[in-house]
């Protein structure tokens, strides 16, 4: 965190994603992830946890550019019933946790922890523009609203047809660019 604050930010902004160099790392910030809402928020407020897989990909162009480098990271979200605040744990070999966060801050913390070494960007870290794609996918699919007698109506049919796969229902992708890291 201290590193990120100390670094002179070379910022480019596009849509809801922002990137910046924080020391020797590339960090992403963004708004409008809309991860902690709807069924995910209900699931968390029932005291259960939700695992979310994030992937950040650096592209040489958009929308179908080649991937320069990528980083995958899983996070576990839970909601402190007594503090009424969210907690996030970055999973992996070196877990890191934070609690007492508002929903939007918890989402932002996930993004900040997706950082990539600038060296992995190669020449794109110096003077070439690049694009960033951030995807997330909720792995612990929250159960549907508990109404087992709910009949199969036209609405549920439309929902069923418009849904791709159940495990894709809670996934989103964001793409932004071009960004350029200044010297």
């Amino acid at each position: 965190m201290a590193l990120a604050c100390a670094a002179a930010p070379a910022i480019a902004d596009a849509q809801s994603l922002t990137v910046r160099a924080a020391g020797d790392m590339l960090q992403v910030r963004g708004t409008g992830l809309r991860l902690i809402e709807g069924v995910v928020a209900e699931h968390l407020k029932d005291g259960r946890s939700v695992r979310v897989d994030f992937e950040m990909t650096i592209l040489d162009k958009a929308p179908q550019g080649a991937a320069i480098t990528r980083n995958r990271q899983s996070f576990i979200l839970s909601f402190d019933l007594w503090e009424q605040r969210y907690a996030v744990t970055r999973a992996g070999a070196t877990p890191r946790s934070i609690s007492h966060l508002a929903a939007r801050d918890a989402e932002a913390w996930c993004l900040e922890n997706l950082s990539l070494p600038l060296a992995a960007l190669g020449r794109f870290a110096r003077d070439l523009p690049f694009w960033v794609r951030v995807e997330y996918r909720v792995q612990d699919e929250p159960p549907p609203a508990a109404d087992t007698d709910s009949p199969f109506t036209l609405r549920t049919l439309i929902e069923a047809l418009s849904r791709r796969r159940a495990d894709e229902a809670l996934a989103r992708t964001f793409e932004a660019g071009p960004f350029r890291i200044g010297n």
Binding site: D46, D80, T89, R96, S97, H100, T148, T153, L157
Partner: protein
């Protein structure tokens, strides 16, 4: 070491400072000292350190101690804090803030509520004695311990295994005291477990390349025991000889003192139109009753579940038919109805299921119902479905017969989106028949379907020929896209059908 420390402190210490314990000194006791354990005091802001140090020498106030614990957590978001208040000689108290990092404890990492003690375990949707003693003991063993999300999830799975037919979910709620939680296991009875299911939805939107569009939409409103279904029909020619549009209203209840008895009342107002081949065939066959422009039907019925899998129903069907050619002349077509239905499902494992259904229905006009048409209609059907992962085999057959003069809506037809697919019913038998036999075999793999239909519909005494058709398509439970070919027809024109049934 940190994990060991956390486990130890959580075993020894209540995580909530406000939790009353007999061994803890009461509020107002003079605080001898206040200490921080687990992190260095230097990691806290000077102001917070000052306030913690300031507890010493003052009367103990638990809300103040709780507030300081929260301030530590807010300054250090990667830690959780438990407070230990220890009685000291001379009526004094020692306050210890026990701090542990979340990352060092797998339980906290997976769910922050794992820091809290389970105050109670509750069961919703099922009486406690309906759960085995062993599982009840395991549920109660959670009380007084820190929440273990993995153990609680395992209990959900074990409860599901013990009570098939129920969905089990768990949630956590705040307890009555700060730092304590209630774990609630909720059982929801699935429809499969009910003695008597509600009537199946007839909703469908179908396109048949030879017969055009048909639409039926049922909108059920209601919950577990009572339901009202409003149904709309738009040019439905896929079900009967007639093409009809109109409205249905159906009320069902399955709470008449016992779950094993259900009652229903259906009323429908339908306007009928007729295809030219049907009208021509009717003119040529004066023994078949006249067509009608409007059909109003009322059908009350009562169903009794003899077993979980066998149900018997009885009722009456009263229909008023307004003549097409001599309006407003009307005919009554009234019948007593009785049926026996069997359905059963076997889940061999998560991926393999079998479903068997069979039924027999008789509808017969009876003295006293004022029917202008005297007839008896019998229909028997059976269906078997086997699913293993992405493979499905469906075998279906039905046969029926009518004696007397049955109204056109009772006559049998074949050649639509579900029977003798590939044949056009308005060419095959435009006024249907009073005898029918049909069987179908279908194989599906990932939705790709192959099928073979055979059957015949004819009038008693007339010659009849067995027809067959085959085809392929994309079929799922609710969606179908089919190309079908009549096999023993003069031409080989394929029929295309698509639609949804839901």
């Amino acid at each position: 070491m940190r994990t060991l420390f956390l486990i130890l402190l959580c075993l020894l210490v209540s995580p909530a400072p406000a939790r009353a314990q007999d061994t803890e000194p009461p509020d107002g006791t003079r605080v001898e000292s206040a200490e921080i354990s687990g992190i260095s005091g230097n990691e806290l802001s000077p102001g917070l350190r000052h306030d913690i140090d300031g507890l010493a020498g003052r009367p103990l106030a638990r809300p103040e101690v709780t507030q300081l614990a929260r301030r530590i957590e807010e300054e250090q978001p990667d830690v959780v804090v438990a407070v230990r208040i220890v009685a000291r000689p001379a009526d004094e108290a020692r306050v210890i803030f026990l701090v542990a990092r979340i990352s060092d404890d797998a339980g906290l990492g997976s769910n922050i509520n794992a820091r809290y003690t389970v105050e109670s375990v509750e069961i919703e949707g099922l009486k406690e004695h309906e759960i085995s003693a062993a599982l009840r003991d395991r549920l109660q063993a959670l009380v007084g311990t820190r929440l273990d999300p993995a153990a609680a999830d395992q209990l959900v799975e074990d409860l599901k295994a013990e009570r098939p037919g129920y969905d089990v979910t768990r949630r956590i709620e705040r307890g009555t005291r700060r730092g304590q939680i209630r774990v609630v296991f909720k059982f929801s009875e699935t429809e499969a477990l009910r003695w008597i299911p509600f009537a199946k939805s007839r909703s469908k939107f179908v396109y048949h390349s030879d017969e055009g569009w048909s639409g039926l939409h049922d909108i059920p409103i209601g919950r577990r025991d009572h339901r009202v279904t409003v149904g709309f029909a738009v040019d439905d020619n896929d079900t009967l000889v007639e093409e009809y549009s109109g409205v249905r209203l159906r009320f069902e209840t399955r709470d008449i003192g016992t779950e094993r008895v259900a009652a229903s009342l259906e009323a429908s107002w339908l306007n009928n139109t007729w295809r030219a081949p049907t009208l021509a065939a009717l003119e040529a066959n004066p023994l078949v009753p006249d067509p009608y422009r409007q059909r109003i039907t009322v059908e009350p019925s009562l169903t009794v579940a003899l077993t979980r899998h066998v149900r018997a129903s009885g009722g009456v069907s009263l229909s008023s038919l307004e003549s097409l050619h001599q309006s407003p002349d009307e005919q009554m077509a009234s019948a007593v109805t009785a049926s026996l239905a069997y359905s059963q499902r076997w889940d061999r494992d998560k991926h393999t299921q079998q479903t068997a259904e069979a039924g027999y229905e008789v509808r017969t006009s009876a003295d006293g119902l004022g029917s202008d048409l005297e007839y008896t209609r019998h229909l028997g059907r059976a269906r078997y479905e086997f699913t293993n992962r992405h493979n499905t085999i469906i075998a279906e057959a039905f046969g029926g017969g009518i004696t007397g003069q049955a109204p056109l809506f009772e006559r049998f037809t074949l050649g639509d989106s579900a029977t003798l697919r590939g044949w056009n019913k308005f060419e095959l038998a435009p006024i249907g028949g009073n005898r029918v036999f049909h069987q179908s075999l279908e194989y599906r793999f990932h939705g790709a379907a192959l099928f073979l239909d055979t059957g015949s519909v004819w009038d008693d005494g007339a010659s009849h020929k067995l027809r067959a058709s085959t085809g392929f398509g994309f079929h799922t439970e609710h969606v179908f896209l089919t190309v079908a070919f009549p096999l023993n027809a003069p031409g080989t024109d394929a029929a295309f059908m698509m639609g949804v049934r839901f």
